[in-house]
Symmetry: C5
Subunit: 310 residues, 5 copies
């Protein structure tokens, strides 16, 4: 159903049926207040839902559980990840989800819900909340994969030295990882709390499912940590490449200068205008000078070969 | 009321009314001693209030709670943050706040208190102490935002390389973050202790509010940690930029020197004054030499192109 | 026995005999489902077995224990380690092992099992599961040794400076270590859980054996940590060597240039064509100039000797 | 009293009076043994007192408490901090302090003790031991301040670049911090143990005082950590300054060389002695060459301006 | 007694006497098996004794305690530390020690044992085991001292810059420290376990002695940590020295090149062979050119002085 008026909710609430109410945005303050009253939500809970700067957390109230999580998505590229708050209220026979902006992450669930014989219809509200959380954690996974792919591309480019990579590209990945960690760390915590909560709203048979997404967040955290180390390594390789190139530039300069500077000196000597310079009068003086030029050059080249500069 | 004499406090204390006493500075030792006696504050508590070098902490006494926190403010710019101690004593029907210097952070609360139907009047002294703490933590938030903004500006300047950033500017931000962390870390601790304290002075319904500012401090700490990492990254980019520039300077020198040093040698050779130098007599010797000049230059340029030095 | 049909399992299950069922791959979904039904495995357990992206873990169910571990092997060289999931189900009188791909790690165990008087036949299913885990942890050991050997070779090559080592070779070892750690860390955790689990399936006398492989994983982790530090050190030495070489290149250039540039200037002076240059007319002007050349060179060499540049 | 003979102690011990015995050094082994017997100190306790290599610690015995702490002082400058062991034994009606060498830290306390109406005389032995510990921790504070001051001076010198700072000066501060941390860390631990010890020798009303010095050690540790980070930052700035200077040196060389090397080449060309060089015959050839010189120079300067090398 | 046959042990075991059995090597497997049977040692315990790759650990069995530790010694120099396993079995009236190779660390104990009135004879087997452990931990101390001395020598050499230190020497110390830490860390753990073990074999009055060596291992760990930091600092100073030297080399080159390159250009100009060059005809042209040479040189020197390059 598409509900336009909060009055329409009451019969659902009083019936035996389980139902899911999705608030696609937080703009309609009046509607939110009505929901607050109908479902008897605590003032602090409502504030947590409306204030979109909250850290992911779970709050166990007497007759409902509030879960605040963050959905991450990237509008254009990985460099500008954005976080959107999704709050889930689990009650006895209802689940309410509040999205910051209308988004399509729950579309898959909507399809599954319409299947009358699906697993999702048979289980309780806790299982349904799990499917919502699962959809969000799956998003983290796909972001992790995107970041991992991007880092691998950068790694190949840096090691092969085929393309000039900008350091800022590496740092953008670092930022994405930082943001992911900042969101996933408290999510892991909240799932751990949810697992151990002894609220009557979380049934024993739902626990393995919650444990499953908990372990997924652990896995994502570990992978993020590995990627963060990879980036540190990438920066090191990047810096080493700069050093190696500088070394090569230096060597080229040194080889050329070291060979030709002495030769130029010798040429300069015989360019002097002294009246009495015996060599200038020799018949083979010029050729002799060339042999000096060649001799110096060959000695230098041998020296550099020995030093393994080539 | 503006109280000038400690005698005036006693009727308030004996009445059923809740009241707030704000000491705008710690200069009047006599007055402080009278307050100590009237409210029966412990000697160690009074010492904690007067010694402005204390770490933020909470001390649960039998008939009152002492909270020592730090207010942070920047007189001119972020580089010189200063900390001022604010001590809050929560009693049965009173709250006393001691400021190191007269400051205006509690002005907003004063306004709200004068509103006779406001939330702040209806709740107990614990809620009132919460509003004071909340005002202080809000200050931390705004400082965090200033630091974050400044770091982002620095980041843009360094990455765009448009403006020459001084390393000391980056380190000033690091210092601010360090100071913020040093103040917020024990504040978080004290709020956690307050949450778990089972003092009769903290009512159950105030706990969610204390938990709220506790979570704010956690959030601030996490953001500070992220900013600290950003600064480490900034310094790395800064250093890499220096290396890259040095590399570019080296390349320019190497290209020019490597091309012209051999040419100068050749010119030097034909500047020698040997009597017998056949090339000098050739009709096209000069033009031939120029072709050598051009040949060497072109070979060098091709070599550098291949090495991707341009 | 080589079992082709799941029907054949049932008599084993009902008998008093202990038996081991090894699934060499996870391709036959029908067979897996039949096994699930015959052994009454939980849906989540089966999902853990089929999903090869699981972290190593242990799950204690009522009538069986599920252990998920990773086998590591390197197809060609250490740089591309691959992980294959192995799941072990320990029941009252059976052990089932599921491999991702058919592999030969359990061949040694198969031989030992066929020995009718072997230790392996006398002990229970928990001991048998231990032998399987032991075979996998032994593989980790041999990988650790390979990595250690490779790092030592790299270390020798870098310190002796005989061979030009590529930085990427060092980083490949870092990656192998990272992967090993990622696999062994949760394995250690699962062994610790297994030790403390009070399941009736783990007999008291098997505990020392489990403790033994647990201590092996601790040992491997510590060695990996040491190797990781060795690599950090190697990278540092590598970078220092680049710096030292660059320093040497610089010195060579500086020595040559600093000696010959002033000499070339002197030669240039007497190559000037001024009509009135008294030195040019001197009889010993040319030899005098050579004495200047020698004098400057000797002074420079002394200067460099003092600075310990040779 | 100045006691010369151990016999003289016994009447004090048997009386109701509280007394303090200070051993200014550990040279007189016989006297120490007599004290051991008179006060019935455990052999291990006596060994801890005599062995001056002990870590700071507290040992709770049945009828006395042994506290081993370190006094830190710098003979000449901060670079050579020395640690001296001070052991304090708290008994029912006595406090014994053992100093490694005669030192004057307890002079202030001696003065206060002689004041017959002072706080120190009214409290028990535990309060007296607190005053001794307080004197020692105050010394740590003054050392922390000296180190902090020295680091700030170094920071100013490095950032202003007015004075050439030697890296070893920075590292000396690092060493002092390391030593301070090594001493204060276990001191904090021992104070924490003392707080929680339920020995009858530590009275409830002394606890806030012990807690006070405990918090001081926490504060010192936090400040040391901040100073350690400052030093890391200082080294980074130091290294960056070297890099920046090297960059400047490189630029100077490159600008001069890049301008004059091509000019010298041109001059070399017209210094060649070819018989047929048309330019040499031109009337304005010389001035034309000068215009080439100027042209090249101006182009180079523009190029460097654009690259922001000036 | 020097026992050659395991039969000879039995009367000792049955008597009331306490005895120590030292196995100087692990070569005689038959003898080890007989010992296993006589003393009723667990199979896993015997495996721990024979497998010399074990981590230091303690295992509390019903009628004996097995302690596995490592003795460290350096055959030639600190760079090649070797570890030898020593296992100690503490029983009711016996202590058995197993050495990997015959070594002389227990010689001092043997001497003390032969003294019939010594402390070592009066105490139980737990005290005797303590003396063995103490001898081993004392070895760690002396190794720590050697490493510390070597690092201080290196530090002096690097800071004074008198001797050219090889980076690999620094890293060898790092390796020694790493190995020491790897051995001492689990030793500390095992001593902690031993302290808390409530085995009847460890008497209450032996606990302070065990605690004493436990604290020694803590102290060694802390010192090792400090030495590790010293090494990091040394490497930093080493790198900085390279940078500083490179800077000096650069400066020398730049000063010489920047002074003489323009002079050489001027000389080159007047070496040109243009027919019409008015300066060449001037009577004082030559001296005027020299004044240009001097002028340029002086200006350059002033410039470098200002930049503080000298």
């Amino acid at each position: 159903h598409h509900i336009t008026n909060s009055e329409q909710i009451i019969p659902f609430l009083e019936s035996e049926h389980k139902f899911w109410l999705n608030m696609p945005n937080l703009n309609n303050i009046d509607l939110l207040n009505e929901i607050k009253n109908i479902f008897d939500l605590h003032t602090m809970a409502m504030e947590d839902i409306i204030n979109t700067q909250e850290r992911p957390k779970v709050e166990i109230y007497d007759h409902f559980i509030l879960i605040v999580v963050k959905m991450l998505y990237s509008r254009n590229n990985l460099a500008d990840l954005e976080a959107e708050q999704v709050s889930i209220v689990i009650g006895k026979n209802y689940v309410i989800s509040f999205q910051e902006h209308a988004f399509d992450i729950f579309d898959g669930i909507r399809v599954r819900i319409e299947n009358p014989s699906g697993k999702i219809r048979k289980h309780g509200t806790d299982y349904f909340a799990y499917t919502l959380l699962d959809a969000i954690v799956d998003e983290y996974y796909s972001l992790l994969e995107k970041v991992t792919d991007k880092i691998e591309v950068l790694e190949d480019e840096i090691i092969s030295e085929e393309k000039r990579v900008k350091l800022s590209e590496i740092y953008n990945q670092r930022k994405s990882i930082q943001l992911l960690k900042k969101v996933i760390w408290p999510t892991r915590e909240l799932l751990s709390t949810l697992k151990k909560s002894e609220s009557f709203l979380i049934k024993r048979r739902t626990l393995p499912f919650i444990n499953d997404i908990y372990e997924q967040t652990v896995e994502i955290m570990e992978n993020l940590e590995m990627q963060r180390e990879s980036i540190t390594t990438l920066v090191e390789i990047y810096m080493t490449n700069i050093s190696l190139k500088q070394n090569e530039v230096m060597k080229t300069l040194t080889i050329i200068a070291t060979i030709f500077i002495p030769l130029t000196f010798v040429a300069g000597v015989y360019g002097m205008n002294f009246e009495y310079m015996p060599e200038l009068k020799w018949e083979y003086g010029y050729w002799f000078t060339w042999s000096i030029f060649l001799g110096i050059s060959i000695l230098m080249v041998i020296y550099f070969k020995r030093k393994r500069w080539f």
